[in-house]
């Protein structure tokens, strides 16, 4: 069973719809016992970093998520990916789950249209099991105004070009994965990535 962490933020139903469509057993939950029992964990998220971290904290989920991320496949999506990092500077300095070293900052705007919204092509940096069986040109759907920076490039599996390298998929090379894009909104490519995660 995949536990989809329901902490009051984001469009968690899309993630659930996609997993249901793939026939993967899943449950929306904020129940610690259930999260501990799950085979895999999904951390979705749309919205602002500080308020999302506060919501996790108010549900006492921070320590259980950090602990479970050492034991079973764990995928953070969009803001859920950004929360895997050490720190964010969205509105205010705020600690993340610190599962992958790095920070979150505003996309350097200059002449870019913000948010980075739409389909962008994955450029593979490091081999990753989530990127198996994808077409040569794999486009995925993004919508975000803040971006991750990994302290160590070895944690970066794939990036996209948007005024520079924007991290798209990161991993600790053990259990933790983070996707800046929305696999649940990325058509067949996204469904394949979700399937790859379920197959871990």
């Amino acid at each position: 069973m995949i536990a989809i962490i329901d902490y009051g933020a984001g469009n968690i139903f899309s993630v659930k719809n996609a997993l249901d469509y793939l026939g993967l057993e899943n449950q929306l939950t904020d129940d610690i016992a259930l999260i501990e029992k799950a085979d895999k964990i999904f951390l979705p998220g749309v919205g602002a970093f500080p308020s999302a971290m506060k919501m996790l904290e108010s549900k006492n989920l921070i320590s259980v998520l950090k602990e479970q991320a050492q034991k079973k496949p764990f995928l953070g999506i969009c803001l859920g990916m950004q929360m895997l990092l050490s720190k964010s500077y969205e509105f205010e300095e705020c600690d993340g789950l610190d599962l992958i070293p790095g920070t979150v900052d505003k996309i350097p705007a200059s002449d870019l249209i913000i948010p980075h919204m739409g389909w962008n092509k994955l450029e593979i940096q490091n081999d990753c099991p989530l990127l198996k069986n994808l077409p040569e040109e794999a486009y995925v759907y993004f919508v975000h105004s803040y971006m991750a920076t990994c302290a160590d490039e070895k944690n970066l599996s794939a990036w996209v070009e948007y005024g520079g390298k924007v991290p798209a998929l990161i991993t600790d090379h053990k259990y933790v994965f983070g996707a800046q894009f929305h696999p649940e909104k990325s058509g067949d490519v996204g469904l394949q990535i979700l399937k790859n995660f379920a197959d871990l």
Binding site: F13, Y21, A48, I114, P115, M117, G118, K185, S186
Partner: protein, 252 residues
């Protein structure tokens, strides 16, 4: 590189897909869930449901249609028409929409944009605009399906929208909508140059090359069409192939 998006729009009334020419002469063409699935197969980058009668007849959005579509179609869904309050936005997003498009209500109550962006994030607030050229040469914003001229300058309005926190603009030209002679490029260019958020071109596509033309002559992020796709004059895939042949980046 970020791909240019091709977006089919399903104008919906009473749970059925319709398409009007200049908003008049509506005729029905089918089931919205089936249409959305077909567009997904054709490679649509996003799908818009627009409740065409909602803003002047007070109809709510068709949440059941959205719910059913969101179970089968895994590309972004936008829902517009009849969204008046923060609760309407919440309900629509919970039904499975990724974005809402607010139009008349945003003109009458700009605070709706700010509240929506603050609570749900800019990324899910798209502001739809119907605008028309004046005899003075500028453009003004209309509400209620293009019926009422608000005498609000288009470029002032789009800057205000951006400041209020909208994540995207869907710009429909009343002058070119349904005429099939191409998008309103001067209006589109003026809006794209005035703001720093994505702009979707809407109204006027009649031929394959109109899409590539919009991307070549303006920096719009996406192009939307309804009847052209409904009546199978073109498929989304044909449009994308034409764009690709002209070196415009589109999703494969």
């Amino acid at each position: 590189m970020l791909a240019k998006r091709i977006i089919p729009c399903l104008d919906v009334r009473d749970g059925k897909v319709v398409k009007g020419v200049n908003f008049e002469g509506i005729r029905e063409v089918g089931d919205p869930v089936a249409c959305a699935e077909e567009y997904n197969r054709q490679g649509a980058d996003e799908i818009v449901f627009y409740d065409i009668t909602a803003s002047h007849e007070g109809r709510g959005v068709m949440l059941d249609v959205v719910r059913e579509t969101a179970k089968k179609v895994f590309v972004p869904l936008t829902v517009g028409g009849g969204i008046k309050t923060v609760d309407d936005i919440r309900e629509t997003l919970r039904a499975g929409a990724d974005k809402v498009s607010v139009n008349s209500q945003a003109v009458q109550n700009p605070q709706l944009i700010r509240d929506g962006a603050d609570i749900f994030g800019s990324q899910c607030i798209c502001v739809g605009i119907d605008a028309k050229k004046t005899s003075a040469g500028n453009w003004t914003v209309y509400i209620n399906g293009g019926r009422i001229d608000m005498h609000l300058d288009l470029l002032d309005w789009v800057k205000q929208i951006e400041q209020l926190g909208a994540g995207e603009i869907c710009l429909n030209s009343i002058d070119t909508d349904g005429v099939k002679q191409g998008f309103d490029l001067p209006m589109l260019k003026a809006v794209v140059d005035a703001v720093n958020i994505p702009v979707i071109a809407s109204g006027g596509a009649g031929k394959l090359e109109h899409f590539a033309e919009a991307f070549q002559k303006t920096d719009c992020s996406a192009a939307l069409a309804a009847s052209l796709f409904h009546f199978k004059e073109l498929t989304v895939n044909e449009v994308k192939t034409d764009c690709r042949n002209k070196n415009i980046i589109v999703r494969t």
